[in-house]
């Protein structure tokens, strides 16, 4: 958990001004979170509840699913909501 928080802080501090989300996903801290594997999924979902951000790349990479309907793609709040529902339905996040 502590390691995750550290990576999140570094990622946000170093990439919040980056415009290309694909580049943000390539950042070493973001990649370190993905490397945590399934352990990272509940942590990412918990983080998203507090502050929506570009977590969709990591979630897609880790779960290989995409619960966001095409018409909602791009809308941060709707995408976040869809992922949180996906997590709740599976008991991963409260």
């Amino acid at each position: 958990m502590e390691q995750f928080k550290k990576h999140v802080e570094a990622w946000k501090a170093e990439t919040s001004h980056w415009s290309n989300a694909a580049h943000r996903a390539e950042h070493r801290s973001y990649q370190a979170i993905i490397a945590m594997g399934a352990l990272a999924i509940p942590l990412i979902l918990g983080e998203m509840k507090d502050e929506p951000d570009d977590w969709f790349w990591a979630l897609h990479e880790l779960t290989k699913v995409n619960p966001v309907p095409p018409e909602n793609r791009g809308f941060m709040q709707r995408m976040t909501k869809a992922w949180l529902k996906w997590g709740r339905d599976r008991g991963i996040v409260s």
Binding site: H17, W18, S19, N20, A21, E51, H60, R73, G74, F75
Partner: protein, 174 residues
């Protein structure tokens, strides 16, 4: 609202020299590409599976994907960023080595430029060069595109039909 954004100034050293003003509070609701395209409700991310990207536009990080995205909403490549009556212009930034897009800004009717800086604030800057600086986070200017102000193409209407009037949100700062 203060007209300065110290966090952005720290990143882009040229900004305070060239001149800029903060024009919104920070939000994660949209990104620079969406903002330059006139959509302040979505993130345009280069991939349709992970966010919004104009239907039919080439996907990806390559600068050609960004050019295609703007072409799909009526822009065509033009030679410079000089203000032209009847036209709106965008400037595209890229990482030269990888040929990957990094940012876009749009020209205002008064000839100044406006940008959404990642998840941070929107700013108005006097020149596209304001975001090309020592740290080079946005790399270099690739070029400019323009479209007529009077005749937005049909695809823009379809993009905007489902978005409500913009209300800027205050983002909780971490």
């Amino acid at each position: 609202m203060s007209s300065r954004a110290p966090s952005i100034e720290k990143i882009f050293g040229n900004l305070s020299k060239v001149g800029y003003q903060k024009s919104s509070e920070a939000t994660t609701d949209y990104n620079c590409i969406a903002f330059a395209a006139g959509d302040v409700k979505r993130k345009w991310v280069g991939y349709r599976s992970l966010g919004f990207w104009p239907p039919g536009a080439k996907e990806g990080k390559h600068i050609s994907a960004l050019i295609d995205a703007f072409a799909k909403i009526g822009y065509e490549v033009c030679g410079n960023g000089e203000s032209e009556a009847g036209f709106e212009k965008v400037v595209l930034y890229f990482e030269r080595d990888k040929q990957e897009w990094t940012h876009a800004a749009k020209q205002l009717p008064n000839g100044k430029w406006t940008s959404k800086i990642g998840n941070l604030e929107d700013i108005v800057h006097d020149s596209p060069n304001a975001l090309v600086g020592p740290d080079r986070d946005y790399g270099d200017i690739y070029g400019f595109m323009k479209r007529s102000r009077s005749a937005p193409p049909p695809i823009l209407h379809s993009i905007r039909r489902d978005i409500k009037p913009h209300r800027r949100k205050h983002k909780k700062q971490s």
